[in-house]
Symmetry: C2
Subunit: 430 residues, 2 copies
């Protein structure tokens, strides 16, 4: 690399704009740390004249991001657009093939095309860095790739999405229902204003799980379908009942090796209020890694927002400027294992089941009989009558049972005359 | 470096012996990761024939560790003896001067001679790595040096000693007093069997604070005296009272920049039972870093023991084998700042004060009058009589006050006829 490092920033949304400003402010710091002068030679975004928090230099603005590569021949490209395909993929592909390093916080892109893009990076002997793609300011990827390099990692799990964690915490704190709190989250900038779906339905967390699995287990980024549930169906009622039981609801991403098979999932979990993970609240993220010989490691920090994301992007930049060319996925793509998918039907958990029923004699025993038929044994029952409406809420905590039993059993309750709606199911953390 | 990397392990205690075994087991893994074959060419310890958990190869045993360098000309030396001076210092010095990389978990050595040794390493263009010296398996040093490289860090604090954290947790859990629990800790291998003083009095944690400050604030490792208190005076009584108040006692190490001055301390702290740090129990360590723009980051994991320590030692090894020569203290020693020490008299905290008094009228008002005289205002008082012995326990939680006021005020109570022993003081975490 030459002493003056030419940088391109593609995407000037919240993160891109903040990053642009940080690169300006920190240029001197970065030079004293790495001996390299950085210079932003081009920026690109949809709109040149959009109102932005930090001023940009319009003289170096390009509407076509691909032109920044052909015309400016940069050393490093920041891709901060965030699409899983389309222009994000094209710009990263083109940069790598032109022997240009790429830094990105784009988890959707890496989760979908990471194997392919890492291979191109390796072939061209450049870096593809994406520390910011998982858990923002938490340096979990570098920790797995470097600090835990000699460990055999068996499980990685945690709270990987700040939006949903904020919503669940705030429902409990403010006693407001899902849609009210979602609005609040949107106003505060914690949830996407137009389409918050990818956060809420678990997709965002799932992309992060995929990336963590690959690095932790030294395996290809998986493409298999797996269990993914979001928080859209969690009601304030569930949060209150959980509270009475000493539990709290958290959306967890879990990646684990079970009998040599890869098990990846994202779903709401009931965890103890006294547990560590039960006390990671608000927009915080936390990742727990189990490895040998290191034992259990926990990393916690702000999971999103332009500040933490920029911190991770700049750590990638400094690493590149220090001259380390590394395999994007820790080891060469050709050496990554292809793990078979664990059969989700064998996933075993205690369950929280909430039934809304007509307040009639015999309904409870009908439910418990059904459960017994599918070998689901009951640990605890709480029945709360709603006399006025002639209804009742029945919450059942089961002993451990498999997904298969549970799925078969619950399907029967779908069209039951005394059961007023599909039962709510939340798994308890093992 | 040649393709076969010659390794020396000096010190074969619990950690050294475990490391020796791990190096044997993981040699293949390390080769596939780094392309380098490692070979242990010499080992050294006090006794050749001591009974060890893992078998060692006696053919490569040296009683004089210095000879391993002159006779075997290794590429990398692991110093796992652990003295702050003496042979530990001599072997590290000699290795670095002979352009041999050094890896060590020796916090006492680095805290005392880190500036000097880092300079020698730099001059000889070799690595001096000590990730394992702070918080065992938690990759806090690499995180500060690399992942948070672009951040301005203002504070680093946490639970840095597993022995004391285990003792405090276990006193609460088992309702046993300090000396009983210490014995238990010694039996379990959590406390040194012969001389546990360095853990108990805060020295061990303080060495770690020194190292964290240097890396976090890009400053020389300080030599100034500062406030250091251990847990030897914590009684079961204090733990029980804290419990009633919704608090828990933790030995915290704190490093902070206050008005451009360096503030380093280790002392017991009362923290909320609901707080994160209040729930880090047993032998766990946790480090909290406050930086801009990343916000608050938390790293938690097992802080000691041969497993986590070896994990950190091997991560250093892999980093060296990947060919990165890095400044041991993050930036060149010549560029490190020399920070002035913060005046401890200005340290401001709410205080927990426990007085054991004769149960006589007027004693409480005598105490509160004294406190008022030194501008220490009272937030809460709990007086518990012990009628049988004609005594009483008075616990006072004060509003915030300075160390100076507090020191002056408490000295008066020393020889007071109605006050039966020196009051116990525990600071509340700000």
């Amino acid at each position: 690399m030459n002493r003056i490092i030419k940088i391109v920033v593609v995407g000037l949304g919240q993160v891109g704009n903040y990053l642009y400003n940080e690169l300006k402010i920190k240029a001197k710091d970065i030079e004293s740390k790495t001996g390299k002068k950085i210079k932003i030679v081009a920026i690109s975004a949809k709109s040149k004249n959009k109102k932005r928090k930090f001023k940009i230099d319009k003289k170096i603005f390009y509407s076509d991001p691909l032109k920044t590569i052909t015309e400016k021949n940069p050393d490093i490209v920041f891709e901060v657009i965030g699409q899983s395909d389309g222009i994000s993929k094209r710009i990263v592909e083109k940069a790598l093939k032109n022997k240009i390093h790429v830094i990105t916080p784009n988890k959707a892109l890496i989760a979908k095309h990471g194997n392919y893009l890492a291979k191109i990076a390796e072939e061209n002997n450049v870096n593809l860095e994406f520390e910011a793609s998982v858990a923002g300011g938490i340096p979990i990827l570098r920790t797995i790739k470097e600090s835990l390099a000699s460990n055999k990692i068996s499980k990685i799990y945690g709270i990987l999405n700040g939006t949903t964690n904020y919503i669940l915490s705030e429902m409990e704190n403010s006693n407001q229902n899902f849609s009210e709190v979602l609005k609040k989250a949107q106003n505060l900038g914690y949830a996407e204003p137009i389409n918050p779906k990818l956060d809420l339905n678990g997709s965002d967390a799932f992309a992060k799980v995929r990336i963590l699995s690959a690095l932790g287990f030294k395996s290809k980024i998986s493409k298999a379908k797996c269990l993914m549930e979001g928080i859209e169906k969690i009601e304030l009622k569930d949060i209150k009942i959980a509270n009475q039981l000493g539990l709290r609801i958290k959306l967890l991403g879990i990646s684990e090796i079970k009998n040599n098979h890869l098990f990846e999932t994202v779903h709401p979990c009931l965890v103890s209020k006294k547990s560590y993970i039960g006390n990671v609240n608000g927009v915080m993220n936390a990742v727990i890694t189990e490895g040998k010989p290191v034992g259990e490691s926990i990393l916690q920090g702000e999971g999103a927002g332009p500040g933490p994301t920029s911190s991770a992007l700049l750590s990638d930049l400094i690493s590149i400027l220090c001259g380390d060319v590394k395999n994007p996925l820790g080891v060469s793509v050709s050496k990554l294992r292809s793990l078979k998918q664990y059969n989700i039907n064998n996933y075993v958990n205690s369950l929280y089941l909430r039934f809304e029923v007509k307040d009639k004699p015999g309904v409870l025993s009908e439910i418990t009989n059904r459960l017994a038929k599918y070998n689901i044994s009951v640990k605890r029952i709480i029945q709360t009558p709603d006399k006025k409406n002639n209804k009742a809420t029945i919450v059942i905590i089961t002993h451990k049972t498999s997904e298969l039993n549970c799925k078969n059993c619950l399907s029967i309750f779908k069209n039951h005359k005394n059961i007023l709606k599909k039962p709510t199911l939340i798994r308890l953390l093992n």
